[in-house]
Point group: C2
């Protein structure tokens, strides 16, 4: 049952676990697999683990990208048994137990943990993507920051006041946590942070639209909390549109609920779908969005050596709870998958995954947030302080924690954002033109 990697060469009697993806699920699996009988190969397209819950603060110039990312190989620098490869997964051959990577390496595995996460989904309208990027990677967040900041700069230099007006319109699609947080942070940027910095335009005139197809924001929260969120956002100057499904997205506009919204920058925070790699896994049961349906122990039905964990999984747990696509659920699934492999090596029985819901929280703006934690509902300042503490604790690396903490303190007392920097003034390049 033990094989060597194509590149490794030398025989190795340890069980080889290949983990695809260095997000919360992948890291959870790697950590549980700290066992002398196991060696791990971790593959990710990026060189870093990304703390996605704070990505919207990078997009809105509050944090620097490097503050919320940690190099994957640095995380496992002290664990000789973990090999990290920055590479793209081309194909998974479940039959031959092989993973093919873009740079030419083929990995054979004893166990496989597929934790490739979700990517932004456009409900079948992939052509909207170029006009409305999602918020899943540092590249996307940096791109959005650039677009937001350039919109204000261009409005200031525009000769035509109508053009100025058009440049100060922003649309956020999707009223989940990411959409709410982005819209709130963007409204604060325009209406509180930038106020004294322009001479020709008035940044407080910027319009931020938050568009949601459902009748409420933050569907996982109670009616009261969701209503509180809407009211607070509106006080902050966000125009909230509920029951407003998007029917068209184009260059500079969004059509939703039969109305046309001008939009200099559109952010898509409305849907997710599984990584396209799952389509190469012949025989794996997938839903329409490419997510993997797993057995109660998180293995693939009929493939005990293959696990899936994190946002890529579609699952009702052993208690019938639909597991949400959030960081704690991903970590728990990753750890569970790792633990089942160790159970196999120990000769113990496998266990079914049970999701332990630690609660949910979303921030709206300065001193405003909602949370349901410890069976209680929190709003306002207590929820906001809780939100900050939890995010600081779960952020990886003491240096990053200090830097983020410092940025937050600064933002609180000075109404400033430290990352209002346009790194590359060149216009973005369509993916088609970029050689990979």
């Amino acid at each position: 049952m033990h094989t060597a990697t194509a590149a490794g060469g030398a025989k190795d009697s340890r069980t080889h676990v290949v983990v695809l993806g260095g997000g919360f699920a992948g890291l959870g699996a790697c950590r549980t697999l700290d066992d002398p009988r196991v060696r791990v190969t971790l593959v990710d397209q990026q060189n870093h683990h990304l703390f996605q819950p704070l990505l919207y603060q990078v997009a809105t110039a509050g944090l620097s990208g490097t503050d919320i990312a940690q190099p994957l190989r640095h995380i496992f620098s002290g664990r000789e048994s973990v090999t990290t490869l920055m590479d793209e997964v081309k194909r998974v051959d479940l039959e031959a137990r092989r993973v093919e990577l873009a740079h030419g390496t083929t990995l054979t595995y004893d166990y496989l943990v597929v934790a490739l996460g979700a990517r932004t989904g456009y409900f079948g309208h992939d052509e909207w993507k170029r006009h409305a990027p999602g918020l899943k990677t540092l590249a996307e967040a940096t791109h959005l920051r650039r677009e937001f900041l350039i919109a204000f700069e261009k409005a200031e230099t525009a000769i035509d006041p109508l053009e100025s007006d058009r440049l100060l319109s922003f649309v956020v699609v999707g009223g989940g946590p990411t959409g709410v947080e982005t819209a709130g942070a963007l409204a604060e940027l325009a209406k509180r942070v930038l106020t004294d910095d322009f001479r020709r335009i008035d940044p407080t005139r910027a319009r931020v639209h938050l568009i949601e197809a459902a009748p409420k924001l933050l569907t996982m929260f109670s009616e009261e909390q969701s209503d509180y969120t809407r009211r607070r956002l509106e006080q902050m100057g966000v125009k909230v549109h509920l029951d407003c499904p998007v029917s068209e997205v184009g260059e500079g506009y969004v059509v939703a609920g039969g109305k046309r919204f001008e939009s200099a920058v559109t952010i898509w925070a409305a849907g997710v779908e599984g990584s396209p790699v799952t389509r190469t896994m012949a025989g794996a049961p997938l839903d329409r969005g490419g997510r993997v349906k797993v057995a109660p122990d998180l293995s693939l039905p009929g493939r005990r050596e293959v696990f899936a964990a994190g946002d890529i999984v579609l699952l009702e747990d052993a208690k019938g709870v639909r597991v949400p696509g959030v960081a704690p659920a991903a970590t728990q699934m990753g750890k569970h998958a790792g633990a089942q492999i160790v159970a196999d090596l120990d000769g113990r029985d496998r266990e079914s995954f049970v999701y332990r819901d630690k609660g949910s929280m979303a921030t709206i703006g300065r001193t405003k947030a909602v949370a349901k934690v410890f069976g209680m509902r929190w709003t306002g300042l207590p929820a906001w302080l809780l939100w900050m503490s939890v995010h600081l604790v779960f952020l990886m690396g003491m240096r990053n924690r200090l830097r983020v903490f410092l940025s937050w303190i600064w933002a609180y007392f000075r109404w400033q954002r430290g990352a209002r920097i346009i790194v590359d003034t060149r216009a973005p390049v369509p993916d088609e033109l970029v050689k990979r």
Copy 2:
């Protein structure tokens, strides 16, 4: 003598000073022009002032780009009389006293301060630029960081060990402060920071070549200090090549001193030339590199209302000292230009510029630097501590100072670099393909 801007509209009786460039010289001028009789329009292509002396630390993953940049309009947020425009200067019409900007604005001025700085010069070989970027902007530094980090990642995934080897070769061209600092930081990255993070390659095998055409490094320093620099760099694993002029730069290689050097990433720190905008200033006396020759008061000969300041200037000062292209000289020139405008308004005589040399310093690596300050020569730890203190003091913004200080402390005690993050894994796009 008073005119309005094209976009401003309303009459304004204040003297209008247009400052081109928000580097050290431009900021120096704006600060001196804090006078109720004056309004200032500051134009820069970037939205930020950049602390260029620390740019090499961004390129070598020690600092985040946002740590050493400050939004220009934020710097002058409290000074209503300063309007900041992020725009590109297309043309300066000295006769009509007009500046044309790329986005359509035309500015008319009473006084003009040209402080557009220098850009990387290739001694007439502009075709080398695509293979050997310079280190002048955040975009360039971020690009280089990406290239360095990707070289190590690709070496780890390469199937062919020869390819691995080739990927771990770096060439720094130019033995001035930027070249010395970059080569030193790169050697430390490979040989001290990354050592435990890879499994297939040995990062300490990376080769860093520092190539200089002159017979010594850091020509502005004494023979002893320059020799100390070379010996320290060699101890750190940098291969120093003196008397070694570059004759060819291509994809993956550099030819210098008759030898061919393999190079996965080449950095050009060898020459500067003036901004191309000076070529549009009909009648302004320029040197071959496009730098402006100014009168002793820093005005253009025969154009008392136009000043040039900073790296764009070619000047021997009133004492016959050739003014170097360093930050303190740029600040002094900018302030001098601003002060002459105020002198005109006061009806006082103009003064000749006298450069006050505060000294020079360059860091080589951890606890290693050279400095000549207060008439004394410093090397080693004292010079390094002095270098750090001076750079922290002159860095703008308390938040940035704290973040940089924190990063340095961290790097010192943990041998870590906090910005080892590849933001965009896509290959770079040639300038030709990018619409502006």
